[in-house]
Every structure is written in C-alpha cells, then in structure tokens.
C-alpha cells in the first residue's frame, strides 16, 4: 500500500528513533575523527549495524548525514582498490 512520499517521510520522521547527544555531536562536528575511524572500518568490510547500531539508526532518520558518511566510505574503498590513483 503506497503513501504520498512527503507524508510518509513526515510520519517516519515523527516516529523515528531519537539520537543521543553523543551521536549528534559526532554528526555536527565536521572534523569528527570517530566517524573517520568508523568509515575506515566500514570501508574495510565491517557492518555499521554491528559497530554502532545507534549511528545507523541516526542515519535512517537523517539521510544527509548518511550521504556524507557513505561518500567517505566510497572514497576509502576506491583508494584501497587503486581507483583513485593517477
């Protein structure tokens, strides 16, 4: 059963999980090294859901943050595979 996407997003947002202050601080800090470490682990094959399920839940509610994290993961993977090399 489909629903108007905008209303679906609003309901999902209202019903979504609430992130801890720690997660929000990590997300708001452009220079957060903890997220850089997690991106390295995910790029190496770890599952974010195993490492930090609370962060994964945060990403579900905040797609902007997920976009930034997985963009970094994609770059790290490309780097590891030699795709970034000139």
């Amino acid at each position: 059963m489909s629903t108007n996407p905008a209303m679906q997003r609003l309901v999902d947002f209202l019903c979504g999980s609430t992130s801890s202050d720690e997660i929000i601080d990590m997300d708001c800090n452009m220079c957060c090294e903890q997220l850089a470490c997690l991106a390295e682990q995910v790029a190496a094959g770890a599952r974010l859901a195993d490492l930090r399920p609370d962060l994964e839940a945060h990403f579900h509610t905040w797609p902007d943050s997920a976009e930034e994290f997985y963009a970094l993961v994609a770059i790290l993977r490309a780097e590891a595979s030699g795709t970034l090399q000139e």
């Binding site: 209303m7 992130s19 997220l35 991106a39």
Partner: protein, 218 residues
C-alpha cells in the same frame, strides 16, 4: 607522491616554508583526486557535466578543503589515518556546497503554516499516493493526516514548522535550512528534536500513538 605517516603529515604541514608548501600541495592534490572521484563516480546528478567542469569543481573544492584542514589541524588526534580525516572534511564540504547550489532558489519563507500541506483541500487518493488503499483505511489515514496537519500549525512555533516541513517533507538538506535560519546543524537538531517531541506528545493526547501511525502508514 610520497606516503607519510600521520605524524609526518602533521609535522610537514607545520614545517619550514619549503616543507610545508610541498605538504600542502600533496594534500591538495590528494583531496582533489578524492573529490573528483566522488563527483564523477558517485553523483549521477552530475553525469551531464564534462570532465573538465568536474575537474574544475574538484580543484576549487580541494582548495577550500585544504584550508579547512589547516584551520582544524590542531584538533587531529591521530585515531584515524590523517588522510581519512582530511577526506572526511573535504567530502562534507563538497556535499554541502553541492546542496547549497542545488537548492539556491529555496526559501524558508515559502514554508508557512497557511496552506503549506493543504491536507483539507487535497483528495484522499492524492494524499495516499498512486495506489489507493481500501476506502476504510484511506479515510482513516486522511483523518490522521488532518490531525497531524492541525498539530503542525497549533503545536509548533513558526520556526519549528518551517524547519520540520522543509527537512522532513520537502527533503531540503539541513545545511541549507540552517544557513537560511542563520543557525547551524547542531542548533537545528535541537529545534527539530523539540518539535518532534511536542508533536508526538500532542498526537498521543489525540489517541494517536506512534505504533498505530507506523502501522497505518506502512
């Protein structure tokens, strides 16, 4: 391009003029390659751009990112690889800039409580998407949506309303909304957290618990 350890990166970026200049150039080139990869491989919305255009964008963004890395160099602790940390800053900066350009015509002033959702004037089938649910469920959904609409305009402050509608319904990026509000991502999180808490309390007082809404709309 030489590979440096974390310590070498930090030392060279703080080094004597000749050493520092080489480290800065190495860093800028490294970030340029990362950003160019991201723009050309991960962004389908930029597929129509020429490689020259993408390369120019990557150059400009890498320049800005290098400056940002230098501004924050003293905060790097060495838990991650230095280049990962620098790439993180570059990616965030690049994505924020792309969002800003994509939504340059967006105005928060358009997000007013008067008719923004237009639930009362919209047909049930339009609200519920292309596949109409059974009539009883459609009516139930429409009633709930009307209560949500009512809650949005009655419970939230104008600022909370604007932010919530822009982000949760219109998919406007947080950075764009924060910039227009003269705010930042952290403050916006708090604003939205408070807005959501108020809405959830109100809806629960209207016999609309979260579990029920999740079931109704999924």
């Amino acid at each position: 391009m030489s590979e440096r350890t974390n310590e070498q990166w930090v030392a060279d970026l703080h080094g004597a003029p000749g050493v520092q200049a080489q480290a800065l150039e190495d860093l800028r080139m490294r970030l340029q390659r990362s950003i160019l990869y991201y723009l050309s491989h991960e962004r389908s919305d930029l597929a129509s751009r020429s490689s020259q255009e993408l390369s120019q964008m990557a150059d400009d963004l890498a320049q800005d990112a290098t400056l940002r890395v230098m501004e924050n160099l003293s905060t790097f602790r060495g838990d991650s690889r230095f280049t990962t940390w620098a790439n993180k800053i570059a990616v965030r900066l690049a994505i924020s800039e792309l969002r800003r350009v994509r939504h340059k015509d967006f105005s928060l002033d358009d997000m007013t409580a008067d008719g923004d959702l237009q639930i009362e004037n919209t047909t049930v089938s339009a609200l519920n998407g292309t596949t109409p649910p059974d009539p009883e469920r459609a009516t139930e959904r429409a009633e709930v949506l009307q209560k949500i609409d009512q809650a949005l305009s009655e419970v939230l402050t104008p600022r909370q309303y604007q932010a919530l509608v822009a982000i949760a319904m219109r998919d406007i990026p947080m950075d764009v909304v924060a910039e227009q509000m003269g705010s930042n991502r952290n403050a916006l999180y708090k604003l939205l957290h408070d807005a959501r808490r108020k809405l959830r309390l109100y809806l629960e007082s209207q016999d609309l618990p979260i579990d029920y809404m999740l079931e109704l709309f999924h």
